[in-house]
């Protein structure tokens, strides 16, 4: 018997995984999901169903029996359309044959680029508050995430001088996400230019997650990839989830310099093989014929944003008018509650779910994230209950 060697208490989990912070909000999320009748402004995805034309294209692809693998890089027709779209909308031209890869959402694209470029001990600078997976995706490659804090006073734009202070000889990349989840912040042309200059000067790779870019209200500026000297040092990550309400399709793409796409392709080919083929065909339909649906949704989000910002400021929570995405990030510190206490209290007493800012890093303390990708009726109900909650404090 070899049983004598077995250790029931043995920890099989790798140290760098065990060391990952358990997503701070998982308990909160489970609590929300276990309750009935919650009015939720906590959902980080469109409340719209995927436009019918796109769903119909999915069904048609299945109808034709298109259920096989695709090329590792993704359907060439989709890569062509993506590159055309990026050229037209973001001002950077990429070759669909070697400079574009279709991924399983931006999430996979992010994982691929981190695994493709990082050696153990390398550092990646990112800005906080940020989407929950940035720091872990760096840490999972045995590299070190380095957070730079952004401030409400500055519209949550990351400042080049703050990034510069955190650069060390091990810094390899700067990870940007604008328009931003959770703050709704965006970067102006000048702010992008300053970051681009810094990246060139200090020889940094820039990874730019522009998943919310179509949801920009007001002037939309070109991608940082389009600035002088940036094309060869930028990996542009984008996808279909937000602009086309296709979160469940899990289709994204990355564009960048050939050697980097080739390296990402290696990881992708051995770990994922390819993105779902009929979902790729749906994405093709979205790019070819989805503009009207996209614009209709964008217009609706913009109006909901206007309403929610007025309501929040009206109840004494300071909240600037965010320029993109579908989130507002009001400051709740004046209530005397921490972000977690505010969110828990609001859930317990008023059955309204918002996400504590600390879910997006320590820099989110004093704020909560409200997603306005919810029906206007839910927004109005949530806002009046939030007002009651504050008045009763």
């Amino acid at each position: 018997m070899s049983d004598s060697k077995s250790r029931p208490d043995r920890n099989w989990v790798a140290k760098h995984i065990a060391g990952l912070p358990r997503s701070g909000i998982r308990d909160f999320f489970e609590l929300v999901n276990s309750r009935d009748g919650v009015i939720s402004l906590g959902i980080g995805e469109p409340d719209f169903v995927t436009p019918w034309g796109i769903r119909e294209a999915t069904i048609y692809a299945l109808d034709k029996g298109h259920t096989s693998y695709t090329s590792n890089l993704g359907l060439l027709s989709l890569r062509r359309e993506c590159c055309r779209y990026v050229g037209r909308e973001f001002g950077v031209d990429y070759d669909p044959v070697g400079e574009c890869i279709i991924t399983v959402g931006v999430s996979e694209g992010l994982d691929l680029i981190m695994r493709a470029i990082l050696d153990p001990g390398d550092e990646v600078i990112y800005h906080e508050p940020s989407y929950v997976s940035y720091a872990p995706s760096v840490a999972m490659t045995h590299a070190i995430p380095v957070a730079v804090t952004t401030e409400a006073e500055n519209g949550f734009a990351v400042r080049a001088e703050d990034v510069e202070k955190r650069i060390t000889p091990r810094t390899k990349a700067l990870l940007l996400n604008y328009p931003n989840n959770p703050t709704g912040g965006n970067l102006s042309h000048a702010q992008k230019a300053a970051l681009a200059r810094l990246a060139v000067e200090r020889d940094l790779l820039v990874i730019t997650d522009e998943i919310y870019s179509e949801l920009t209200y007001g002037e939309r500026t070109q991608s940082i990839a389009a600035f002088p000297g940036m094309r060869e040092r930028t990996v542009f990550l984008h996808g279909f989830s937000k602009a086309f309400a296709m979160t469940g399709y899990r289709i994204g793409y990355a564009c960048g310099p050939r050697p980097l796409i080739e390296a990402m392709m290696k990881v992708h080919q051995y770990s994922m093989l390819c993105a779902c083929g009929f979902a790729q065909e749906a994405a093709l339909e979205a790019l070819r014929n989805g503009a009207r649906d996209r614009e209709a949704m964008r217009g609706e989000y913009e109006q909901r944003r206007n309403v929610i910002v007025r309501r929040l400021n009206g109840m004494g929570l300071s909240c600037n008018l965010p320029e993109g995405a579908f989130y507002v990030f009001p400051r709740i510190a004046a209530t005397g509650l921490s972000a977690q206490e505010f969110a828990m209290g609001l859930l317990e007493h008023k059955n309204v779910a918002v996400v504590p800012g600390t879910a997006f890093g320590a820099a989110g303390e004093g704020h909560v994230r409200c997603a306005y990708a919810a029906s206007m009726a839910d927004i109005e109900t949530a806002m009046s209950r939030m007002r009651e909650f504050i008045d009763e404090l």
Binding site: S23, F28, S40, E45, Y131, N306, R310
Partner: protein
């Protein structure tokens, strides 16, 4: 936003939901309720906004009324084309919409009545005899699936997340 753009945006919102209210319109468009109310009054006054009505699921509303689409072929006139006949048809209380359309017939008329017979009789005795009407074809409506952009049936709920990062 210019006055004209604001008017267009207000119309767009009212067409989606006429009960939305001036203050929500103002909030959505970053205007103020007084301006919105004034624009709506203006548009009601100059005939830009003709009226408001509710979209109803007749089955749930217990609305047993019969509806029919009537295709009407009309001999156009030297002066005014189809206008005189279209207006004459539109004056009947039983008629709820009249459109001039391209294709095999000229006017698409929607008629309501209490029974099939009442609608058929109306077409035969009041609509068809109008001077200029050459032929009619009556299609009774059996079930409504969608009206003015709204589906009659609601989508099924499914397991969507209530909160996500």
């Amino acid at each position: 936003m210019t006055n004209e753009d604001l008017k267009k945006a207000v119309i767009g919102l009212l067409q989606k939901n006429a009960r939305i209210g001036e203050s929500e319109i103002a909030d959505r468009l970053r205007s103020d309720p007084e301006t919105v109310a004034r624009l709506i009054r203006e548009m009601e006054g100059d005939g830009t906004i003709i009226g408001y009505h509710a979209l109803v699921n007749d089955e749930l509303a217990g609305n047993g009324e019969v509806r029919a689409l009537i295709e009407v072929q009309v001999l156009p006139e030297r002066d005014g084309g189809f206008d005189r006949v279209a207006r004459a048809i539109g004056r009947f209380r039983e008629v709820c919409s009249v459109y001039l359309v391209s294709g095999q017939y000229d006017l698409r008329v929607e008629v309501t009545g209490e029974t099939l017979q009442q609608v058929a009789l109306f077409v035969a005795s009041r609509l068809a005899p109008i001077d200029g009407v050459q032929a009619t074809a009556t299609h009774f409506m059996l079930k409504k699936y969608k009206e003015s952009g709204f589906s009659v049936e609601k989508d099924e709920d499914y397991e969507r997340l209530k909160v996500s990062p």
